[in-house]
């Protein structure tokens, strides 16, 4: 073939591809518009029937044979419902074979099929498939692992908690945020597993457990969190999480260890977390440590100490006012915190003054 011939063939092939693509775009556009209109009409017809079913009237027979768009409607409603209403929709999905198909899809070849199946089973809040979902925590696809973790959280089977925590450091790991959200979804039933993880888990598990105990406001976790905060051998992320958790739990028993962390730690992130936690607790006994913290080199630590002093009530504000009278960065930070308090106060009490 000559050089010109080769170019002619190449140009023709590429041009042909362009034409095929553009024709496909046009066809897809038209088909999508039609599909959307059809599904909208079907939804409009099916939604009243679903509500009829929820009202306890007979509509199951009609819905059992309804088109697939019904499954989307039901799965959208399901997380918003509780009690008998939820059970009615779960039964409808079982009747339509949706749950059975999803369970079979947990071992499908395509990752998205496994992931969607896991999420569907999670949405049905059934604990019947916990074992299958736990297996997916070690799936080769990270998206599937995440979907399985979310599904386990939604399903609410607390037996999954240790597996979720273990997945943080497994060969095929799960990100801590996904595991955290799943464990939060499990509710207070997961607290014993979290307390256990705080004392005997791996470093990522300890950090996550500390954060979650704080978010639950778990008073029983305070002693272990205090020990974790005070332990210099712990990674700084774990200690920071413990400090934040103690602030959320807001027990004055944590004031002293937090003051020590603020005063003696060399890590700005830990000092920052300790100052914020002291502000959340609002114990006036922290005022002296916070005033000392206002001399920190790190502006973030200074700002956190100033905010915390502002949260201590009249005593803290009076200390801030004294500091604001001085010179240098400490005085500037104090003045900034007082201004922020004034703006907030004016917003909350617009008629005052």
């Amino acid at each position: 073939m000559t050089q010109t011939g080769a170019v002619v063939v190449a140009s023709s092939v590429v041009t042909g591809l362009v034409v095929v693509l553009l024709l496909s775009v046009g066809a897809a556009h038209v088909a999508r518009r039609r599909r959307e209109q059809r599904n909208a009409a079907r939804r409009a017809a099916l939604v009243p029937l679903v509500y009829t079913l929820l009202d306890g009237e007979e509509a199951g027979a009609v819905l059992a044979g309804a088109p697939a768009v019904l499954d989307e409607v039901v799965l959208h409603l399901l997380p918003q419902l509780r009690g008998s209403d939820r059970k009615v929709l779960q039964d409808l999905l079982v009747t339509r074979g949706v749950v059975e198909r999803a369970a079979a899809d947990l071992t499908a070849r395509a990752a998205w099929r496994r992931g969607r199946a896991a999420m569907l089973l999670g949405s049905t809040a059934s604990t019947a498939h916990t074992a299958g979902l736990i297996t997916l925590l070690a799936d080769r696809s990270s998206q599937v692992r995440c979907a399985a973790a979310r599904a386990l959280g939604k399903a609410g089977d607390v037996a999954a908690a240790p597996h979720l925590l273990a997945a943080l450091t497994a060969e095929r790991t799960l990100p801590s945020g996904v595991v955290g959200m799943a464990l939060l979804d499990l509710g207070t039933a997961a607290l014993p597993a979290l307390r256990e993880a705080l004392t005997s888990g791996t470093a990522p598990a300890r950090a996550l457990a500390a954060s979650l105990l704080g978010l639950h406001g778990d008073l029983h976790g305070t002693p272990a969190l205090t020990l974790t905060l005070a332990d210099d051998g712990q990674p700084v992320d774990v200690r920071r999480a413990a400090a934040e958790a103690l602030g959320r739990i807001s027990s004055p028993r944590a004031t002293d260890p937090l003051c020590r962390a603020l005063t003696f730690s060399a890590e700005p992130v830990l000092r920052h977390a300790a100052a914020e936690a002291l502000g959340r607790i609002g114990d006036p006994a922290a005022a002296t440590a916070l005033v000392a913290g206002m001399a920190a080199d790190d502006p973030g630590v200074r700002a956190a100490c100033a905010d915390a002093l502002g949260a201590l009530g009249p005593d803290g504000r009076s200390r801030l006012t004294q500091l604001a009278d001085g010179e240098g960065p400490t005085a500037g930070t104090a003045r900034g915190a007082l201004d922020a308090l004034a703006v907030r106060s004016a917003r909350l009490h617009p008629m005052a003054g």
Binding site: V7, V14, V25, G26, H29, G115, A147, G177, A303, D339
Partner: protein, 486 residues
């Protein structure tokens, strides 16, 4: 002598041919990788768990940073969109960077600003003088910093970072509109993998021509000008497919300054944005990658193809030329500053793939294209090339370029289909052809000027783009303040 010149011209022709072929091949591979990723994501649509992210107490708070210089045309829309984000905890830090128009006055009137003492949380170097700090009294989490301009966006952003209080910072241009869920979507990688994710970027699209209402794009439409339409296509290709492909290769070099989310502590750790860079967004990403790789710290930079930030793109050739020259100048600065990373396996795919690609095709591309084009024309004049063969080569080059654009249009229609009107799709297809007739060559010329500026080490000049504001919008100042943010 004539023989020597003939050889030179023929070599130049072949270099041009090889460059065009290689560029299209690499881009096609990227586009295919991006299309594959976007196509796969399509199966997961609707199950991303944005509701859970919104409700999760683990979702980190975000400071949205908006540098603004003479942005009276659209600043209220931009703030309205930023403050109206569906996100559990955010603040907006607007930096009025020496505006000479009514930017500050409009914001002050709309949000009832009151002057407060600044509360810095970091001490990055800021060359402009910070004049005053203000807080909104309307209940909106808005802080406004007024400073003198030194003509650099990076300086305004560093001032904003110094006053940001939250662990994540989101940089948004003052002429951009965030979709309501954009922040929630782009922050999802941080929520799910807080230990490793250091930055995420979202999709930017051109807002020119779209119907907007109080900071919300109601209906995306194409603008009337071809110069804008071609840019819409460029953005589609670049954001929807190109960056997705680079991100998949763990070699994402650019997170657009118009919409990017970063870990604040790391940005402070590397000293903030480079004060003298004209490509400060890309510079920050490369600096972070270099810093973290050298320290062997785990990190991931993620591109999220779903969320959308709508931005104004240049509507005239003059403004477009200045913008592209600035980008090219900035790229030259960036590649020179990080030259030791180029081709260095220590920096993984960034060093081995992304930086050489940007050097060869983005920075030096215009030189090769314009020199090659001159050689082709000379060949014609001297009768060295058969006209039919040359014409066929040209058709092939254009067809390859159109194929890339058609792939981007196809993926857009099959996945996100933001353009509901069929005529907009037809126009986009037309733009795919028009682009190669004149836009491409003008673009090369602007980039060449930027390259020359970089080679001559000219002083960086950051010129603000004239704003027209968003079409179809009614003035936000007339509307009541509504904020979903807390």
């Amino acid at each position: 002598m004539r023989e020597f010149l003939t050889d030179v011209i023929l070599v130049a022709n072949w270099v041009l041919l090889g460059h065009v072929a290689l560029f299209h091949l690499v881009t096609l591979l990227l586009v295919l990788a991006g299309a594959r990723r976007v196509w796969r994501n399509r199966h997961w649509q609707g199950s991303e768990g944005h509701g859970e992210t919104f409700a999760s107490p683990l979702t980190p708070a975000v400071s949205i940073l908006v540098p603004a210089h003479d942005e009276e045309a659209g600043i209220l829309d931009t703030l309205s969109a930023a403050l109206g984000q569906r996100y559990p905890a955010l603040e907006v830090v607007l930096v009025d960077d020496g505006s000479t128009d009514r930017t500050f006055e409009l914001v002050a009137a709309r949000y009832g600003l009151t002057q407060v003492t600044p509360r810095p949380t970091a001490c990055l170097q800021v060359d402009g003088e910070v004049l005053s700090t203000h807080r909104a009294t309307t209940g909106d989490p808005l802080t406004v910093i007024r400073k003198t301009s030194v003509g650099r966006r990076s300086d305004a952003l560093n001032a904003a970072i110094n006053h940001a209080r939250h662990p994540l910072i989101c940089m948004v241009d003052a002429d951009s509109l965030l979709e309501t869920e954009a922040l929630l979507q782009v922050s999802r990688p941080f929520v799910e993998d807080p230990d490793n994710v250091v930055a995420t970027g979202g999709v930017i699209r051109a807002a020119n021509g779209a119907v907007t209402d109080r900071g919300t794009v109601v209906e995306p439409r194409l603008a009337r000008r071809w110069v804008v339409r071609v840019q819409v296509l460029e953005y589609l290709r670049s954001f929807l497919l190109g960056r997705t492909g680079w991100a998949d290769a763990q070699a994402l070099l650019i997170i657009s300054g118009a919409f990017g989310l970063f870990r604040r502590d790391l940005v402070v750790e590397v000293g903030g944005l480079d004060a003298h860079s004209l490509a400060e967004d890309a510079e920050l990403v490369v600096t972070l990658q270099e810093h973290l790789r050298r320290q062997k710290r785990p990190h991931r930079i993620v591109f999220v193809p779903e969320p959308v930030c709508w931005t104004e793109v240049p509507e005239t050739w003059g403004v477009l030329g200045r913008q592209r020259k600035r980008w090219s100048h900035g790229l030259g600065q960036l590649l020179w500053k990080h030259r030791r990373m180029i081709g260095n396996p220590r920096y993984g795919t960034i060093g081995l793939l992304a930086l050489p690609f940007f050097l060869l095709f983005e920075l030096l591309g215009p030189v090769i294209e314009l020199v090659g084009l001159s050689a082709v024309v000379t060949s014609f004049v001297l009768g060295l090339v058969h006209p039919a063969t040359a014409a066929l080569m040209l058709v092939l080059a254009i067809a390859l370029g159109v194929l890339l654009s058609a792939t981007a249009i196809a993926v857009e229609e099959l996945t996100y289909h933001r353009y509901g009107r069929g005529r907009d799709l037809l126009t986009l297809m037309g733009a795919a052809v028009v682009e190669h007739l004149w836009f491409r060559w003008a673009h090369s010329w602007y980039r060449l000027r930027g390259l020359v500026a970089a080679l001559l080490r000219q002083a960086p000049v950051w010129t603000a783009m004239p704003r027209t504001g968003f079409s179809g919008s009614r003035p936000v100042a007339e509307a009541p303040a509504v904020s979903l943010a807390s």
